[in-house]
Each structure stands twice: as C-alpha cells, then as structure tokens.
C-alpha cells in the first residue's frame, strides 16, 4: 500500500470542468429559450464538488480561472463570473468539513444558497455596468442547479473513486 499521497490525475479535474463548459454552451436556446435560461451552472457545480472532495488541490484559484473562462465563453464582462465563483467557492472551501459530512438534502440546500448568492452578485455586477436582465427565470438556474447537485456529486464521486484521484 502506498502511504505517500501525491497529487495525481490532474487531468480528471480539468476535463470534468471542461465537460461542464460544453454543457454550458450546448445550443438549447434554438429549441427553448426558457430551457437555456434555467440551465444549471455546470462548471461551478463541478468546481464545488472538487472543492469539497479535494480542498487541498482545488480551491479559490481554480474557481477564479473557471470564472474567467466562463466570462470569455459566454461573453459577459471579464471578471464577473470570476468574482462570484471565488466568493461562493470560498464558502465551500472554508466549511468543506461541515458540508462534506452533512446529508445530501442539506448539501443540496447549501448549493441552492450558494448559487442564489452567485446569481445575486452577478445581477448586482451586471446592473452596475448598465446591463439589464429581464424576467424571473433568471433565478430558475439556482433551483435547477440544486436539483442537479446530487447527480453531479455522485457522478463525480464515482469518477474520482474509479480513477483514484486524490
């Protein structure tokens, strides 16, 4: 048994985040605009999982880089997603020990809260820079993100265990 623990399989973390980006920009608005508007925030959910599972390796820097990439990908002001992702990932990283041992229900509610917080700061930042966001569906993504959280959590945990990412 190898007792020395080294950071390994970085590519797993990065490719799951990339997969999140692909899910984020899949062309849904062609079929239903509402569906595109309430699409879960996949990349940051995946980052949350890795913050929870491997807080020593994935943390604020990863969240920030993910945010910058998402800003570029979705055409928002550079730095907005980075800001909200860092703030919410901070909560995740700071309290990972408590969140990790809590039940799936309370984890889901934590994620709901975090995404709502993310949406709130995002709304504040976009309106501070003279852009409007219309409609209540804006908040819908928080609910769908929470619904998708157990799926992402168990899915990524399986991947992590199968590939032995530590």
């Amino acid at each position: 048994m190898n007792t020395e623990v080294k950071a390994n399989n970085n590519w797993v973390i990065y490719s799951t985040i990339l997969l999140g980006f692909i899910l984020l920009i899949l062309p849904l608005s062609k079929y239903s605009l509402l569906l595109a508007q309430i699409r879960p925030e996949f990349p940051i959910l995946i980052v949350y999982y890795w913050c929870l599972a491997l807080p020593e390796r994935t943390g604020l820097a990863t969240a920030w880089a993910t945010g910058i990439f998402q800003d570029s990908l979705t055409g928002s002001l550079i730095g907005i997603h980075a800001l909200t992702f860092v703030l919410t990932a901070f909560i995740m990283t700071r309290f990972y020990q408590r969140i990790r041992v809590s039940s799936m229900w309370s984890q889901t509610f934590t994620v709901l809260g975090l995404i709502l917080f993310h949406k709130l700061i995002f709304l504040w930042a976009t309106s501070a820079t003279n852009q409007q966001i219309l409609g209540f569906q804006y908040w819908g993504a928080a609910i769908t993100s929470a619904i998708f959280w157990p799926l992402i959590f168990f899915g990524l945990r399986n991947i992590r265990k199968q590939l032995g990412v530590r």
Binding site: L26, P27, S76, V86, F90, Y138
Partner: protein, 322 residues
Amino acid sequence: MPAGVLSGILSESIGRVHQGRVLRRFTIKLIFTSGPSIIARLLVLVALSLVLIMLDYHFDSFEKVRSALGIATYPVRQVVNAPAEAREYIANSIKSRSELLKTIEEQRTQLTLQKYQLQKLESLKAENIRLRSSLRSSFDISDFVTIGKIINVDLDPFKHHVLINKGNRDNVSINQPILSSEGVIGQTVHVSWKSSEIVLISDPSHAIPVRVNRTGLRSIAIGTGTTTRLELPYIPTNTDIAVGDLLETSGMGGRFPAGYPVARITEVTNDPGQPFAVVTAEPIAKLDQVVEVLLVWRDQQDALKEKKCCACTSDKKQADTQ
C-alpha cells in the same frame, strides 16, 4: 524508504485517533498551511476580479485581452458546434441527384430574376448619384460584403448575442454592421481571431437609428428583449406613421450604412392622455432563425486590408461625384 513507510503508518494511526478518518488530509493540510491563508487568497482574487471588471468596462483596449481569451475558448466552442456541422455535412452529402437538380433550377430562375432587377438598379443608381451630385451631397452606396455563418453555441441567455465564424483573421472590426439576406440583424461587439460576437437589434441594450421609408421620418428602434419586437420611443401622437411602414437604416451615427431594411411597423397606439405614441415594429430578418449573415464594409479596401478610418470613405466619394 523504510523511514517514509514508518512515518506513514505512524501518521495514519495518529490520524485515526484524532479524526476518525484517514490522515492523508492532515499531512497535506500541514503542507498547505505554509502558503498564504485562505482569507488572503480570497481578498487577492476578489480584488483582481474587480480590477478586471473595471478595466473591461472602461477601456476599449482591454478588448485585446478578451480577444486573446477568445482563442483559448475557441476549441470548446468548436467541439459544441461540431455535431451541427456534421449533421449539415451529412445532410448535404446524401441529397439525391434529382433534388440537387431541382435546387439548381430554382436558384437559376431566382438568379435571372434578380439580375433583371439589378439592371434597373444600375440605371437608378447612376441617376441618383447624378442628382445628388447636383445637390452637392455625397451618396454612399457601394458596400462590400462577406458571408459568415452562425456558430451553434449558446452565449448568455439573457442577452441577444450570437457568435459568427469570422474574426480578426477576416478583418472584422468592432461595431461592424451585420445583415442577413432580409435585413439588418445587428453589429459586432467582441472580435476574436476566428470568431466574433454580435449583438442583435432586439437586445435591450441596442438601439439602431432608422428612418421611415415612406415619409423620411427619423427615429431610433430600441430592442426589447423579444426577437420579434422593437420599440420606437418619443414619437409624437400626431406623426404620420402607420402600421406596415418600412423602417430602414438612416445612416445617422455612422455605424450602419443608410438604406438597409430593418423592421416593419406592427402597432401604433395613440393615447390622447400620453405625450407620445406607442410604436412597435417587427424586425424583417428572422433574428432567431438566421443561419448565414453578411458582414458589411463601406469600402473594398476595408474589406481587404486592415483599415480604421471610415469617415474618409464618404469624403472621397463626394470628391468623386462632384
């Protein structure tokens, strides 16, 4: 090596005593406590994000950074776009011969008809330039276009932005007008190496200077966030404007060349209690179904070479016509 194993076993047993969980986290946390604290990292990254937001919001030159980031995101967009392209390719390659022949025949008929219309246009154009030159005003009609395609990816769903497959490489510049075969659809906002982002005229943050084709009344058409609706604000109630009137670009502001169709008036409500009429219009181009777009340059040199100055184009033309 034995020492390492020993310390590993030792630390693991200590870890069990302390936390009831495997110790590896304990050892790794020890390594990480030597780095900057999490609060410090948070503050640095938040400050960095805020600085980036400010830079991107206030300085146009930051566009270069965005353009560079666009190169990094390009592969992801390509991956997402690939299935749609593959589907189109397959659909094209399995079309039957008779079907293709039929399409060719249809397009040939259409081309002949359009050539016929162009014959008349040429003489009208010449006449117009002659008349305008007698009035000593310039008339800019020669625009150059390139065809681009929409990339099948979603951007921010709360903005009306789409991505096209032409960028810096094809001399696309910021604020360049974009048309479809039917009418104006928007202008470029961010340009990257091989792709650029365009804002549609229906985006709530977009306004386009227009003129009513029938009367010459000038106004502005503002996006509403719905692809089938534009609003014309501040139209007095006694203005001659009617349902069905065609709105075309007025050329005011200098971004959109004059004379391209934009929208058709769908509703005019005159409420005597209100100072202004409520006027809405529907874009002529099907904004949510556009597949191919036309990028417009004022001048062939702009289309071929990198060139910034737009005002000099019309001056030159004025000199030519006089």
